[in-house]
Symmetry: C2
DNA sequence: TTGAAAGCGCTAACAC
DNA sequence: GTGTTAGCGCTTTCAA
C-alpha cells in the first residue's frame, strides 16, 4: 500500500533516455535543450507514472526550496489571518509555500523558530514579530536570507518592511472626532516597544497638534499589549479624570473593545457619553453594539505586498531597502457621535 | 554578506574528526556510539561555528522532513486559527513544522496543494477540507502518506479523524431551548456535503425526537455555506411561516449572525421574539447584542488532537483508524430566553 | 541534442 | 570508537 515513490530514474527508464535528459525535458527552463520528440516522450512517461519531482532533492542541488517562513505572534489574533492569507495567495502563484510559526511574542520562541526555518533552508522569511530594534532580524539579515517585515518596521532601515501608514490612519480618526466637535480627546496607546504601537502614539500627538489641540498627558494611557484586557486596564486609569474628555482614540480594535467593557461596567454610554475609535477593522466589529468606528487597514494587502516584496529579485541585493506604506481608510460607524447631538441625548451623568 | 553556510564538513574539520563521526556525535540517537571526549569536542566545534544541520539534506537521506502539510479552506474563517494553532503547538515539541495552505473549498486548488505538499515530502497531512466522500483523501491515503482529518470525517472510516461530537452539541442546544419552554423550534442547517453540516442536521432531527418533538420540515432551512450571508438567505426562507416557531437552532455561529441581521431588518427582537443558538463559539460572540448562546467547541483541542493522532506511530499502520470525538459544551448567553418570560416582554408583534 | 559523471549535505552500512 | 564508502533524487557541468 505505501506506494513506492516514482523517481526521475523511473521516468527516464520508461522514456528510454538518461536521467539528465529527462531532467532537462521536464524543467521548463531547460526544455529547449532537448529535441521536441524526446521532450514529449519524457512528458508522457512522467504523466503515465504520475511522477512528482522530489523538491527536497532538487532543493539540495539548487539551493532553493521554494519555501518561505512566516513568523507571527499568534494566528489566533484576528489581525493575522488576513495577513497570512495575503502572503500565501501572493506566494502560491510563484510556486512558493509558507511555513507558519507562532511565537506569542516570546523572543526565545522566535529565535527557535527562526533557526528551524533557516535550517529548513527557507528562501526567505516574513516576520510580523519584530520589535523596533530586534537582534534576531539583524541575525537573519546577516545570514543572507532575504527578510521582509510585515506590520512592523525596524529601526534599521536596511530591512524592507510593509506597514500601515499609521500617521495617516490616526489623523483620520482624530480629524473625524474634531469634525464632530470633540476637543478633549483621550488616547489609549499600544505597547511602545513595537513599531505600530509607537507610530500610532506619535501620530496621535502630531495629529492633535495639527488640529491645534495640545494633547493632555493625563488623558493618555498605555496598554502593554494589543489585547482586550490590557485595553480595559489602561482605560480604567483614565476614569479618575472624570469628565475631562469626550472622546477616545485607541491604538487597536481589541483595546477599544476593552474600553467598551469598562464603559459598560461603569454605566457609561457609547457614543452618548463618550465617542470611541478603534484601529484595524477586524471582523464582526459592525455587529457590536454600538458598532465600532475604526480605521480600516487592508491586512490582506499588507501580507500580499510583503510577499511580493520578498519575491522581487531586488530583495536580495543590498539595494536601499524599501518601506512600503499601506493606506488606511476611516470606517464611520455607531461609536462616534457629534458632541452637539450627544448633549441633546437624555443625560445620565455629570460627565459633560 | 551572504554568509557561507556552515556544513558538517566544517564542523568535522574543526573538531578533527570524520564527518560521519561528527554526525554521530551531533545526533542524540547515535551519540552513544561516540566517545565522551570527541562528542563534546564536536559539540563545541558546532557551537563555535554556529552550525545548523541542513534538514533538507538530512531528509533526503532519512526520508523524513519533519514537515506536516495543513490544508484548510480559509484561515480567515474564525474557526480555523485556533485549529491551526493547536496543530502547530502539538507539532512543535516533536520538531515538526507546518506547511499551511488555503483551498477556499475548491477541489482543484485542494488537489494542487496536496500534490505540492506530497512533492515536498511532507511526513503527514492534516486536512480540514474533506468532503464526506473525497477522492483526494483516498489518493493521499493510497500514496502511503499518513493523513488525519480535522473537523471533518470521511465516509471511508479507514481515515482517522478528529471531529466535534455534534450529536451531543446539538442535543445540548435543543435541550436548553426545550428546558426554556420552547417546542416550536426551527433549524438553519449548514451544507450537507460536508460532514459537520450533515452531522448537525441529523443531530437536530434526532434531538428533537428525543424530546418527543416531531421536527417540522417547513421549519428547516439549509445554508449552502457556513457564512453570514448564506445564514441570512436561508433564514429568510423561514419568515413566511410567521409565528410558527419561537426558537432557532443554527449549525454555526456565522449562520446565527446572518439570522441576527435578518431579524434586525425585520424588526424582530432577540431573544424576546425569537431565541437563537449558534455553534462553535468564535471570538467576540460575547460582545454582540444580544450576546450569542452557542455550543462551544475547543477548536484548539481539535487541532492539537489531530496533530497528536498524526504523530502517533500507529497512524501509519493499517490499524482500524480512529475517529476521535471532541466534547462540546453549552455557553448560555443573551440570545435565548424562557418562553414564559418572553411572553411577559412588551409585545411588539403578533408573532406569538 | 544527449550521455557520463560529479556532487549538493547528510546518514547508514560496513569495516577496522 | 572511528573512518571508509556509498547513496538519497536531483541538476549541472563537461564531453561527445
Amino acid at each position: 500500500m505505501p506506494a513506492p515513490r516514482i523517481t526521475l530514474v523511473d521516468v527516464a527508464r520508461l522514456a528510454g533516455v538518461h536521467t539528465a535528459t529527462a531532467s532537462r525535458a521536464l524543467n521548463p527552463a531547460t526544455r529547449g535543450q532537448v529535441s521536441e520528440s524526446t521532450a514529449t516522450r519524457v512528458a508522457e512517461a512522467a504523466k503515465a507514472l504520475n511522477y512528482q519531482p522530489n523538491r527536497m532533492a532538487r532543493g539540495l542541488r539548487t539551493n532553493r526550496t521554494f519555501t518561505v517562513g512566516v513568523l507571527i505572534p499568534d494566528i489566533t489574533n484576528p489581525l493575522f489571518p488576513p495577513i497570512v492569507r495575503g502572503i500565501e495567495d501572493a506566494l502560491a502563484p510563484a510556486g512558493y509555500t509558507a511555513l507558519l510559526a507562532n511565537s506569542d511574542n516570546d523572543p526565545e520562541t522566535e529565535r527557535l523558530h527562526v533557526e528551524t526555518m533557516l535550517a529548513r533552508q527557507v528562501d526567505g522569511l516574513i516576520m510580523a514579530t519584530a520589535r523596533r530594534s530586534d537582534p534576531l532580524v539583524e541575525h537573519v539579515a546577516a545570514s543572507g536570507v532575504p527578510v521582509v517585515l510585515v506590520n512592523r518596521r525596524s529601526e534599521d532601515d536596511r530591512i524592507p518592511s510593509v506597514v500601515p501608514d499609521d500617521g495617516k490612519g490616526i489623523r483620520l480618526a482624530v480629524r473625524h472626532l474634531v469634525s464632530l466637535g470633540h476637543a478633549r480627546i483621550a488616547h489609549v496607546a499600544g505597547p511602545l516597544h513595537v513599531s505600530t504601537g509607537m507610530a500610532r502614539h506619535r501620530a496621535f500627538l502630531e495629529a492633535m497638534r495639527e488640529e491645534a489641540l495640545e494633547p493632555d498627558e493625563e488623558l493618555i494611557a498605555f496598554a502593554r499589549w494589543f489585547t482586550v484586557e490590557e485595553g480595559a486596564r489602561a482605560f480604567r486609569a483614565l476614569l479618575p479624570t472624570n469628565g475631562r474628555f469626550t472622546a477616545v482614540v485607541t491604538a487597536n480594535d481589541l483595546i477599544a473593545i476593552g474600553c467598551y467593557d469598562v464603559m459598560a461596567e461603569q454605566g457609561l454610554r457609547c457614543p452618548e457619553d463618550l465617542s470611541i475609535t478603534g484601529y484595524n477593522d477586524i471582523p464582526l466589529l459592525d455587529k457590536l453594539r454600538p458598532s465600532l468606528t475604526t480605521v480600516r487597514l487592508e491586512h490582506y494587502e499588507l501580507g500580499a505586498t510583503a510577499a511580493n516584496l520578498l519575491l522581487e529579485p531586488a530583495a536580495d541585493a543590498s539595494t536601499s531597502a524599501r518601506t512600503i506604506l499601506v493606506e488606511p481608510t476611516l470606517v464611520v460607524r455607531g461609536s462616534t457621535m457629534s458632541l452637539a447631538r450627544a448633549a441633546e441625548a437624555p443625560t445620565r451623568s455629570s460627565r459633560r
